[in-house]
């Protein structure tokens, strides 16, 4: 491999790499605004200037291809002076309204001003005024004054999404960004521009002014929007999820995620219609009751039906651990065969970038774990459509519905559920389906539990809890903590944040199983996963540490043998 | 004098002294606070009554109304006994200290002392030794490490300083050739005060007295920054008040002892030259005793608000390496003096 010397350090690089890429791969940070690893080179910010021996002037490292034997200085006096000058120049028309700006705390301009600027401006004239608060699209707000014209957002729309929506207009210091006439910034990935904007010019309208970034605690987890399983950070404050940002994973989602995932996959966690504590239907009303009472009621009711009069339907967004235990419970403890998963494929909703047609996060997991009817060791059993038709014809009288709102998914199922004699649901929120339920168990959402999902590629990825339920403690459960979480007491207003009495599905299932006389020894999701790893050859050698932050690609092709549970 | 009469007279004396002591103690606390305030450019208690003169009563009332807490880890009997010992020692010591000369009234001879014991000084020394038990008991029985450390420090300190105190007193006894307090006072007529005859003895006694009463700069047993409240950390309500009382009563007794042993007791030099009637002489002499007593008590308080506390090792060094040799030296000097006189 060819070599290049940066700051006296000999570095190997791949032919064709630019200087900034070679430096970055070897841990040398060259400041930059307009360059982005996933976008084309624009070279307009001039901040990445470096000194290269035998070149007459300083050159920008983002567009200079590295060549054998090149000697680069990133910290020489000349480079530092140039950087200062560039920073001063960029700051001439920047309003410096950091106290108001939402980007403060994660702003590249703010960071670089502290790191690379002299801290004083010679510019005493009135700053340029531009339009502020422009709604570029339904989800993105634009502030013209803060913009430093790096063109990252324009290039993102052009190159990643392929929708030409944004452009520069005007010249010189009046240059600003706008949408093409008659267009809006409304592509399904539009909000990624708020992440890549190095300043606070483009902001997330959903999150605007909700919280300062340093007040929140980020949790590395997975988006629950579709089978892609984009890696995300879930930002929480006072036990409330406030926003989602994508987390880089080149094997899954690179730097991006879709707007739907960003906006619509966390609101139900904070919602007021969360189920807190088990509920029993008494005189037509769902009344909160104790866990033991709910278990006992479920036990006595289910025992009054014959085995083939009962069916179970589970969401295909259950975690691998939940799936394992639910399947074990239904097939072994209840000794039932009518058990299937609800597939949520919306034809035509996917695209070639990230969004998948399959809206469930773990459908591939069911396939790989071999828990589908007909594939399991116990054999036979009705499939989803057959279960539905059997309910309709009255042959199935009781249903266990796990983490799935059938009616919310397809209103036609209202007729089906109303025919049931007994419906148990394990639900995160009260919804159309729970209105027919006789017993409702409160399930933790994906933001409140540990677990794993297998995405459509067969990649196993970890979800981690970001919100605490009644039985969790942020510090003891190793969850990410903000300064407030660390030093607050029960007497502080933020210490009194709402906590739901909910449990992960596997825990509810364990409880039910023990009511039926079978004790599972699991006390945490990790133990279930370890058992799966021991019994299922597909998962051999895996544990939560191995799966880690970025997940592991399962060797799906090598496993031909049917897996038994 | 018949037995009955002796009992009645003694009882009256005891009651008078007890009442006077209690009142004095209350006001000693008041003046302690006032003097502390003055030394620090403040004005001190001034809310209860004019110039705050009823403050002591408010304090007593407050202490009476406090809840009496006995820690679970405490030895209850000892914990209760300790303040009683402290109070008993403080009050009974005064019995042998003469306030004024004997006088004749109604054809009988009265003396300003409850018990004119011929081994009075021995009695005082014995009782102050008993006082150590109060502090040691309270420290040990509280079941608290702070109390225990305070108690242990206190007993070590009191035992160490008792020796130099005893040798200083020995000098006085040597000159007076008696253990009777009245005889000691009588031996100091005119300017023959022991403070002049044996100044080193006076200093060693004074320092030892400070140490024996646990007053600053020797208040290590209750050194707040290290031991919270020392031996009385775990005391509250009237039990605490008992310690408080005994501490100040001890201060009065030490002052009275200093006056008796070194400042000529009730003696006023050259008083006989004025040719006053016997009544006036008695009144003046009692007045002189009280004046000297008040001055020494003021001195006690004054020192407390001027001098910082010694470190424990310094305290022991001073006790054993300075005060003890000095008191021996004093004894030698007195022996020589006794040969000359």
């Amino acid at each position: 491999m060819p070599k290049i010397i940066i700051d006296g350090k000999e570095i190997e690089f791949k032919p064709g790499q630019t200087v900034i890429q070679a430096a970055r791969e070897n841990g040398i940070e060259i400041p930059h605004f307009c360059w982005h690893p996933s976008l084309s080179v624009s070279g307009n910010c001039r901040l990445c200037l470096v000194e290269i021996e035998k070149m007459p002037k300083l050159v920008i490292s983002c567009s200079t291809t590295a060549t054998e034997g090149m000697v680069v200085q990133t910290q020489s006096e000349k480079v530092i002076a140039a950087r200062n000058a560039v920073m001063e120049f960029i700051l001439i028309n920047h309003p410096l309204d950091c106290p108001i700006c939402d980007e403060a705390g994660e702003c590249k301009l703010q960071d670089y001003t502290y790191q690379h600027s002299v801290g004083e401006s010679r510019f005493t004239e009135e700053k340029n005024h531009k339009e502020k608060r422009i709604e570029l699209g339904p989800n993105v707000m634009f502030d013209g004054e803060r913009c430093i014209s790096c063109s990252r957002c324009i290039r993102f729309c052009d190159e990643i999404v392929g929708e030409k929506e944004l452009t520069f207009i005007k010249r010189g210091d009046r240059v600003t960004i706008t949408t093409f006439p008659g267009k809006k910034l409304e592509n399904p990935y539009s909000m990624n521009v708020t992440d890549i904007c190095p300043v606070g010019a483009l902001t997330n309208r959903d999150f605007r002014f909700k919280s300062r970034v340093w007040e929140m605690a980020p949790t590395k987890t997975i988006c629950s929007g579709c089978a892609r399983g984009c890696n995300i950070d879930l930002w929480t404050r006072n036990n409330e999820v406030l926003r989602i940002t994508p987390r880089q994973n080149e094997d899954v989602n690179s730097f991006w995620m879709c707007d739907n995932g960003r906006l619509n996959t966390f609101k139900h966690v904070n919602a007021n219609d969360r189920v807190s504590g088990p509920h029993l239907r008494k005189e037509g009303q769902l009344i909160k009751c104790g866990w033991d009472e709910a278990y006992a009621k479920t036990l006595s009711e289910l025992k009054s039906f014959a085995k083939d009069e009962i069916a179970a339907l589970a969401s295909s967004s259950l975690t691998v651990e939940d799936t394992y235990l639910v399947s074990k419970f239904v097939r072994s403890t209840l000794n039932m065969k009518n058990f299937d998963f609800v597939r949520k494929v919306v034809a035509g909703s996917g695209d070639a970038i990230l969004i998948r047609e399959d809206k469930a996060t773990n459908a591939k997991g069911f396939e790989l774990m071999g828990v589908e009817p007909g594939k399991s060791a116990s054999g036979g059993g009705l499939k989803f459509d057959e279960i539905i038709s059997h309910i309709e014809s009255g042959r199935i009288k009781a249903l266990i519905l796990i983490e799935e709102d059938l009616i919310g998914w397809n209103p036609a199922f209202e007729k089906i559920l109303s025919k049931l004699d007994f419906l148990v649901t394990i639900s995160t929120n009260f919804d159309a389906s729970t209105s027919f339920a006789n017993v409702v168990f409160p399930a933790s959402t994906y933001a409140e539990k540990n677990g794993t999902w297998i995405n459509f590629q067969g990649r196993i990825q970890r979800i981690r809890p970001a919100v605490t339920t009644i039985e969790m403690e942020r510090s003891l459960d190793g969850m990410s903590q903000s300064r407030w979480d660390k030093f607050g007491t029960d007497f502080d207003s933020w210490g009194k944040a709402k906590k739901n009495d909910a449990r992960p599905t596997w825990k509810i299932i364990s409880g039910l199983a023990s009511a039926f006389g079978t004790k599972y020894k699991f006390t945490m999701a990790e133990e279930i996963f370890n058992e799966i790893a021991h019994t299922n050859p597909l998962f051999t050698g895996l544990d939560y540490d191995v799966v880690g932050e970025n997940g592991v690609q399962l060797k799906t092709e090598t496993v031909k043998k049917k897996v038994t549970i | 004098m018949g037995i009955l009469e002796l009992i009645i007279v003694s009882l009256i004396k005891i009651i008078v002294i007890a009442v006077v002591m209690l009142l004095t103690v209350s006001y000693l606390v008041y003046f302690e606070r006032k003097i502390a305030a003055w030394a620090q450019n403040r004005i001190g208690p001034n809310r209860v009554g004019p110039a705050g003169i009823f403050q002591p009563f408010a304090d007593v009332l407050k202490l009476l109304l406090k809840e009496d807490i006995v820690p679970t880890a405490a030895n209850k009997q000892m914990h209760t006994l300790a303040p009683m010992i402290a109070l008993f020692v403080a009050f009974s010591t005064f019995a042998v200290l003469p306030v004024g000369p004997s006088f004749t009234a109604f054809g009988k001879v009265f003396s300003f002392v409850v018990a004119d014991v011929n081994i009075g000084i021995l009695y005082v020394l014995a009782l102050t030794s008993v006082g150590v038990y109060a502090i040691t008991f309270s420290g040990w029985s509280s079941g608290s490490k702070y109390s225990l450390l305070g108690g242990i420090r206190s007993s070590a300190q009191m035992i160490s300083y008792e020796i130099s105190m005893g040798f200083s007193v020995a000098g006085v006894i040597l000159l007076a050739e008696s253990l009777r307090p009245i005889a000691i006072v009588n031996a100091q007529s005119g300017w023959m005060w022991n403070i002049i005859l044996q100044p080193i003895g006076f200093i060693t006694f004074l320092v030892s007295a400070f140490a024996e009463t646990n007053r600053l700069p020797f208040d290590l047993p209750e050194a707040e920054p290290e031991l919270v409240g020392g031996y009385h950390t775990e005391y509250s309500s009237m039990k605490f008040a008992a310690f408080f009382l005994s501490e100040y009563a001890n201060m009065i007794i030490s002052s009275a002892l200093i006056v008796t042993l070194y400042l000529g007791g009730w003696q006023i030099p050259y008083l006989e030259l004025l040719n006053l009637s016997a009544g006036w002489v008695v009144i003046l002499q009692v007045g002189a005793f009280i004046f000297k007593l008040v001055f020494i008590m003021f001195f006690f308080i004054w020192v407390r608000w001027s001098i910082p506390r010694f470190r424990y090792d310094q305290l022991m060094n001073i006790g054993w390496k300075v005060m003890f040799p000095l008191s021996l030296l004093n004894l030698l000097w007195v022996a020589i003096l006794a040969m000359i006189l």
């Binding site: 309204d97 950091c98 106290p99 108001i100 403060a104 502020k132 608060r133 605007r208 002014f209 909700k210 919280s211 300062r212 340093w214 007040e215 300064r483 407030w484 030093f487 607050g488 007497f491 502080d492 207003s493 933020w494 | 003097i35 305030a37 003055w38 030394a39 620090q40 450019n41 403040r42 004005i43 200093i203 004054w302 020192v303 608000w305 001027s306 001098i307």
Partner: protein, 164 residues
């Protein structure tokens, strides 16, 4: 380097200690007769100087416009986590304002860091030192108690401008 006064460096007079004690006693005695500084508090109120750090308040302009833009720096710098701010959007030129601004006076330690860090000169230490409450809820001062007209804070504003 400062001269170390070790035991061996002391003069004989200092070593026998008695003269030094006498000096100390003299000093306290002298002070007993000096004028007293006590203030008869409930009757006579202390009027603090501009440098005094009383309870923190939020400045509000004469036209009713509050200065705070809810940047949250005071909340971040507060070593005692006393300040809680929730921002929201307004139509004003400065598009951010505090929807909720609470100072927990049980937590506040009157260090004045919030004032020092404030970019808008909005949070200022007032001269108010009489703070007593009987329950925890009363100790949380909301905007109703915090907003104070600029005119009443002029003294402090001048001080802050001079020394910040």
């Amino acid at each position: 380097m400062a001269k170390k006064n070790r035991l061996k460096d002391l003069s004989f007079g200092q070593r026998i200690y008695i003269t030094e004690i006498a000096k100390g006693l003299g000093l306290t005695l002298k002070n007993m007769f000096k004028p007293k500084f006590t203030m008869q508090y409930p009757e006579v109120k202390f009027d603090p100087p501009a440098s005094y750090r009383g309870r923190p308040v939020l400045a509000v302009e004469e036209n009713g416009q509050e200065r705070c833009v809810a940047c949250g720096l005071c909340s971040r710098v507060c070593p005692a986590l006393a300040i809680e701010v929730q921002a929201a959007e307004t139509e004003n030129e400065k598009e951010r304002y505090p929807e909720k601004f609470e100072i927990n006076m049980l937590r506040c330690i009157f260090c004045g860091f919030c004032e020092e860090v404030c970019p808008e000169e909005a949070i200022l230490m007032s001269k108010d030192y009489e703070l007593a409450f009987t329950n925890r809820a009363d100790a949380i001062y909301g905007k109703d108690k915090l907003l104070t007209p600029v005119s009443r804070l002029q003294d402090r504003i001048n001080f802050v401008r001079q020394f910040k």
